[in-house]
Amino acid sequence: MKYALFDYVTNKGINDFKIWTEKLQKIQRAKLNIRLDMLENKGFDLFPQILTGTDTAGIQKLRVPGKVQLRPMVCKGPINIENEFTLLIGAIEKQDKLQPKKADQIADKRRKDVITDEKRRTKHERIS
């Protein structure tokens, strides 16, 4: 099953996730992109551990291995739960702690923003 990917945008129309991705090193971007590509094109049935839960219901972290453990926060939908994912905020994990702190809670607030206003997200912008 194919999924559509979206990026959250701020109330000023800024794509936060794109900016976060642009700051990553090339190898990190490659590892992020393979995960996003598989999520988009194959879903998570084939690769179940690609997404894991957080302390916040409805918010999952995309697990990207590497020297720096990338953990962008993701939610299903939230407009169409069945076939969409929205990338809400870029984050990393060090010693089981998220950076930025409470990234999952920030993501949840953003998820609610998108539910309220569909314009608070845009089609995912790939950075390679």
Binding site: K2, K26, I27, R29, A30, K31, N33, I34, R35, D37, M38, N41, K42, D45, L46, F47, P48, Q49, I50, R63, P65, R126, S128
Partner: protein, 178 residues
């Protein structure tokens, strides 16, 4: 997915990026295939661990798409447990792109040795029967009168019924008649 194939073909012009991307895909592929093969056989992780002489925790780690520290020795153990052969080879990047396109739970499944060889043997017998038909059909298509519409029907007829246009066809004609 075709769009992704195009994108990757372009992105992989960067060597560092291409290797990082494909390296992670390889890890994901192996993890997913171990899980798919275990599910196909209806085994638990504990059972696979017993059959391969590992601990269950190790099997769990190997099935995790975020794990990349597997060794050929470990994979050989799993191959033996699944009654499969392990094929390790160097591949071109385009092949990897096509693998990404094709990967699915079904595409990762493999039948074990006995079942596979049984199927393989049967297919070989069928191929042995079909090869002369195909060969004759090619001859018919190329060299026989255009009145023949159904090639398979034509093959079952006596070859002498056709009009041959070239003296050098004689050996083929004799072969078909025989």
């Amino acid at each position: 997915m075709k769009e992704l194939v195009k994108t990757l073909t372009s992105e992989f012009s960067d060597k560092e990026y291409a290797h990082a991307y494909v390296d992670d895909f390889s890890n994901m592929f192996i993890a997913a295939q171990i899980k798919a093969l275990r599910d196909q056989r209806g085994w638990t992780q504990k059972e696979l661990a017993e059959f391969s002489g590992m601990k269950q925790e190790r099997v769990s780690a190997l099935e995790d798409v975020n794990y990349g520290a597997w060794t050929a020795k470990t994979l050989k153990k799993l191959a033996q447990a699944f009654d499969l052969t392990l094929k390790i080879s160097f591949e071109q990047f385009s092949d990897c792109i096509m693998d990404m396109d094709a990967i699915s739970t079904e595409s990762l499944k493999r039948v074990s040795r006995e079942e596979n060889l049984l199927q393989f043997g049967q297919n070989e017998i069928i191929r042995d029967v079909e090869t002369p038909i195909t060969y004759h059909a090619n001859v018919v298509t190329k060299r026989v009168t255009p009145n023949v519409i159904n090639i398979r029907d034509a093959v079952t007829q006596k070859a002498s019924a056709f009009t041959w246009t070239d003296e050098s066809d004689t050996p083929y004609l004799e072969a078909i008649q025989a």
